[in-house]
């Protein structure tokens, strides 16, 4: 496998992992909203809390994490951009 192919394999892996986490917090948990609401967080009913704040905060953290991981992958295979700052 060439360098490029290995880079793409790892990139795909990260994409799938990111989307798996996304799938859990955007879809799976709300399939069980009714029973979820029996639990609580900060005193809020849990399902209510998750759509009011919980999932949103998780998405923000997830995207920052994803961006950092992808940068590491790009550097590892020598595909990071050079000479361009933020």
């Amino acid at each position: 496998m060439s360098n490029k192919e290995r880079h793409w394999e790892k990139t795909k892996g990260l994409m799938m992992l990111t989307l798996a986490i996304w799938f859990v917090f955007s879809i799976v948990i709300f399939m069980f909203g009714e029973s979820l609401n029996n639990g609580s967080f900060l005193g809020y009913p849990l399902a209510y809390y998750m759509c009011a704040q919980g999932s949103i905060v998780i998405f923000v953290v997830l995207i920052f994490w994803f961006a950092n991981r992808q940068e590491k992958i790009d550097e590892e295979f020598g595909f990071a951009e050079r000479g361009e700052d933020e």
Partner: protein, 617 residues
């Protein structure tokens, strides 16, 4: 001179200072207004000053950012730093509807409505992992530019423009409508005139400088709208002793609402009763629990399916995707998505809190502001109740004739939650003026992004790429600006006719976009085997089937029973599924893309190296 100034590296490195000063100036302006109010300035003047002052600043930024260069006009010169692009995207994203209507939606819809919150934020995970960095590497000016180059041929490019225009135009009339409503209320002019005032303000920001001007005004608009949204939320929460930091401390109020719902009883009024009582259109009473999850699999599916449509739609909306074409690098595009969602989350996580605060203020009989359970004659004496009833934004219908207000007898328009809560909670009028300025900023920034997305696609993809590829820069930018005016005027004309209600919900824009664009974009990057014939067939079939289904179930069209609960807000599920199947099948039936195309896709997948399309294409 201004041209030179904004092109210099200095400008970019000075951005924090520039916008810091701007924010400070805005806060000082608020304080001055508060002092003026104490000194006896009337509410109307304060409202006018707030809207006029902020709009004048946006127009000034628009003028300073004017440009005669193609890449500055289309992609802001690709020099927008991550954090600032995040703010601009957040303003681009949060429309007048998000600002004014979202808290109201939660107020009436409770948990069920909050599927929109999940959908309108979760979509950014798709944007960052599937789309934005790769489109940035591609180096396109518009979304159809990517489709047209990746798949080749004018057919694919043209279909992408069709989907873009349909989705964005559905959205933009609602925005111009919102600017018109706010302008007319704040300036005290008729709505029909307010719409045109709104349009002129919108065009002042985008006409001369295209994407560059829109970028820097959107940052300024974000700062205004977030200040305008957060101050009332924190103020009300602290003033009424609900908690110092409402987001973490309103659990008791949520529980209390649950109890109150049980005490008062959630009654859904019969349509005939509502009609007989003469409740004005668009006004609703609370009939759905605040935090309870409705029972059953169908309810869960409706929540999830709505969230899916909004998420996939988010990742296909061109006016959002094109914001990530403006970052200096692929890496910056990825980071910028994260910052966008961070800035969006500041408002979206506050909306449920505002809804809770507003609801508890009105419902709780132990609070001085509570209305339910009080004699109607007494309620009619309250100034703000009177004011909103007079403008048909609120209504009392004494169904059981006992002279006491029940929960199901209090009607209100959703927008009132944001617009009136400061007043209800007894905050000074300066806050209401601030909220008007915030709503105006939210509606203007989204309208600018949308009009620019349509005008750029028509000028770059239709005019330059298809009609007249030899056109020089001057002519291209002239066409682009002429189109801005034409599209804006068309939107304003439709809005001024007050027929926006038949143009449908904002959700439709998401469904149109996902039906036609999601899979052609994703597969263009992630599946080398995707062919031109597949993409064109997918876009035609997806958009066609989605639209046909919308007409079949749409309450204002054929109004047939939705299949599996997929109603007119969720028709994108049908469109996108058809698009995927058709695109894959047709791609596999046609010959695989040539090696040049495959190589291009390989190049898109790595951040380093040159963009696929040159700096001036």
């Amino acid at each position: 001179m201004a041209e030179k100034f904004i092109n210099k590296k200095d400008f970019i490195s000075n951005l924090p200072k520039i916008y810091g000063t701007y924010t400070g100036g805005f806060l000082i302006f608020i304080i001055l207004m508060a002092i003026a109010e104490q000194a006896g300035m009337d509410a109307k003047t304060i409202g006018i000053l707030f809207v006029a002052f902020t709009v004048a600043i946006y127009a000034l930024i628009g003028w300073i950012s004017r440009t005669v260069q193609v890449d500055a006009y289309y992609v802001a010169g690709r020099q927008v730093p991550t954090v600032f692009n995040g703010m601009a995207t957040a303003a681009d994203w949060m429309s007048g509807a998000s600002f004014v209507a979202m808290a109201g939606g939660i107020y009436f819809g409770g948990y069920t409505y909050m599927a929109f919150l999940v959908g309108w934020t979760g979509g950014y995970v798709l944007v960052s992992s599937l789309m934005a960095p790769y489109l940035r590497k591609f180096g396109c000016y518009t979304v159809p530019d990517f489709i047209g180059t990746r798949y080749g041929g004018n057919g694919a490019r043209f279909m992408a423009v069709v989907v873009l225009t349909l989705a964005s135009f559905t959205y933009v009339t609602a925005q111009i409508n919102a600017t018109g409503t706010i302008a007319s209320r704040a300036l005290g002019i008729p709505f029909e005139l307010g719409v045109w005032v709104g349009l002129v303000s919108i065009l002042l920001c985008s006409m001369l400088g295209g994407m560059r001007a829109v970028t820097w005004t959107q940052v300024a608009q974000y700062i205004v709208l977030i200040i305008a949204y957060l101050i009332p939320v924190f103020w009300i929460s602290n003033k009424n002793g609900f908690g110092f930091f409402p987001h973490l401390m309103l659990a008791d109020e949520v529980a209390r609402l649950n109890d109150l719902e049980a005490t008062f009883g959630l009654v859904k009024n019969a349509a005939a009763d509502i009609k007989a009582a003469g409740v004005p259109g668009g006004l609703k009473s609370i009939s759905v629990p605040h935090s309870d999850v409705p029972a059953g699999g169908m309810a869960a599916w409706k929540f999830i399916s709505l969230a899916i449509c909004m998420m996939v739609g988010t990742a296909s909306l061109p006016h959002i995707l094109m914001r990530y074409f403006t970052t200096p690098s692929v890496k910056a595009a990825r980071k910028s998505v994260a910052w966008s969602l961070f800035f969006i989350a500041l408002l979206y996580t506050s909306a449920p809190m505002l809804a809770t605060l507003s609801k508890i203020s009105l419902l709780d009989p132990n609070l001085p502001t509570g209305l339910i359970g009080k004699p109607i004659a007494e309620i009619m004496q309250i100034e703000w109740v009177n004011a909103w009833i007079n403008v048909k934004q609120a209504f009392i219908a004494d169904f059981n004739g006992d002279g006491v207000l029940q929960l199901n007898e209090w009607f209100m328009r959703g927008d009132v939650v944001v617009l009136a809560t400061p007043e209800v909670a007894g905050l000074p009028y300066v806050i209401s003026g601030l909220v008007a300025a915030g709503g105006m900023a939210a509606a203007m920034s989204t309208a600018d992004g949308l009009i620019l997305a349509i005008a750029n696609a028509l000028s770059h993809d239709i005019y330059y790429k298809i009609v007249d590829p030899k056109a020089d820069v001057r002519k291209r930018l002239l066409v682009a600006r002429a189109l801005l005016i034409v599209i804006g005027a068309a939107g304003a004309y439709i809005a001024s006719m007050r027929i926006t209600s038949i143009l449908g919900a904002v959700a439709w824009a998401f469904d149109f976009a996902m039906s036609g664009l999601f899979f052609p974009l994703v597969l263009g990057i992630w599946w080398k085997r995707a062919t031109r014939a597949g993409a064109v067939a997918g876009m035609v079939a997806g958009l066609g089937s989605g639209t046909a289904y919308l007409i079949y179930v749409g309450p204002k069209f054929m109004a047939q029973t939705p299949w599996l609960g997929i109603d007119h807000l969720r028709f994108g599920i049908i469109g996108a599924s058809v698009c995927l199947v058709v695109m894959v099948v047709v791609s596999l039936m046609t010959e695989e893309p040539d090696s040049a195309t495959q190589k291009m896709v390989d190049e898109v997948r790595v951040p380093s190296g040159k963009t696929i399309l040159g700096k001036a294409h």
